[in-house]
Subunit: 203 residues, 2 copies
């Protein structure tokens, strides 16, 4: 365990979080930073900022769809804007925290997070649907009944609420949003800058 950390805040319904998820662990490994996955509910930020889901903003919405498709092609990552989009991501995030907290390791949880993002943004599987979540959990080799049970468990409800509130109080207004030993970076397109920041010790 390194003492250096990259906190990775994201909403499971964020296309740019899906793109960032492909890169951030590589970055952490190469530079010996631990990546801490922190799924949250971006709707809580939107209440503060007056924001709304990116793709539904006039003008910006059209560009953002073009941009995420273009960025995915550039990164050579399969991507298809799913339908329905966006979706409620409360259940999938609670399952993540259940996996992280239970006998299952942090590693299992991040594997689950990656496969959930991929399922939604590359395979058009609705990760708001409990049946899809059950399959995904199973694919990670974990008991699906327990996982689905965690969705209504106060412990994980509170955990997600706390982490979301914490994110908002730390200024998280979009997804993905990173803190590199506390230094904030917004956007999947700032991973290069995080790398420079770490390598050069800030500037």
């Amino acid at each position: 365990m390194s003492s250096n950390i990259i906190e990775f805040y994201f909403d499971f319904a964020s296309p740019f979080a899906y793109l960032a998820a492909q890169k951030v662990e590589d970055l952490g490994e190469r530079l010996d930073y631990d990546v801490i996955w922190k799924p949250m509910l971006l709707s809580a930020s939107f209440k503060q900022t007056g924001g709304q889901p990116l793709t539904s903003v006039p003008l910006k919405g059209e560009y953002s769809i073009h941009d995420m498709q273009r960025m995915a092609r550039y990164m050579k990552i399969p991507f298809k804007l799913p339908t329905p989009f966006p979706i409620m991501t409360t259940a999938v995030a609670r399952i993540f925290y259940w996996m992280e907290a239970s006998e299952h390791s942090q590693e299992h949880a991040s594997t689950f997070a990656k496969s959930a993002l991929k399922a939604y943004f590359a395979e058009n599987r609705n990760i708001g649907d409990h049946e899809v979540l059950r399959q995904l959990v199973k694919e990670c080799g974990v008991d699906p009944d327990e996982a689905i049970g965690a969705i209504n468990d106060d412990k994980y409800k509170n955990m997600l609420r706390t982490i979301t509130e914490d994110a908002v109080s730390r200024g998280v207004f979009g997804s993905p949003f990173f803190f590199v030993n506390g230094e904030p970076f917004w956007g999947s397109d700032r991973i290069w800058m995080m790398k420079k920041w770490i390598e050069e010790g800030g500037w």
Copy 2:
């Protein structure tokens, strides 16, 4: 004159346009693209998107100030968020179009644009103030009385209005916003992507 163009839409009150202005001409020169400066009024886009000046958005505002200062340090460009900020940029934009349209060349106009952005974001000179504009025009070696007269000339009023409406109809929602032979790119932090796009012929 190259047949390849980079259209550079921006509002004179945009800190990230100031940062981009330092880079975009280099890019054009290196890759043989003509850079066409297109100052506009971003407030017209905000009417469509429900947007507001970046720094006044809760959470996002604080981050954006941190980010522009950090980006300027990274680029080694002098930068100081001016007061007052933002300002009305109607007058400075109309003078730009007057310079571009009159016997003065396009080259003069972009020199004026660069010095106006620098005056505002590096020297804390209020480019909404006619006296400051008069000095800037003079520093470009152009008659300040004629320039100031252009601010209330219907020709340049219409020109700015038309270009702003055109920008909005083409989807410009932020500043800077570029079209590389028609391909849209938003943000000073996407110049690397424009370069790749040109070099690789898109993807």
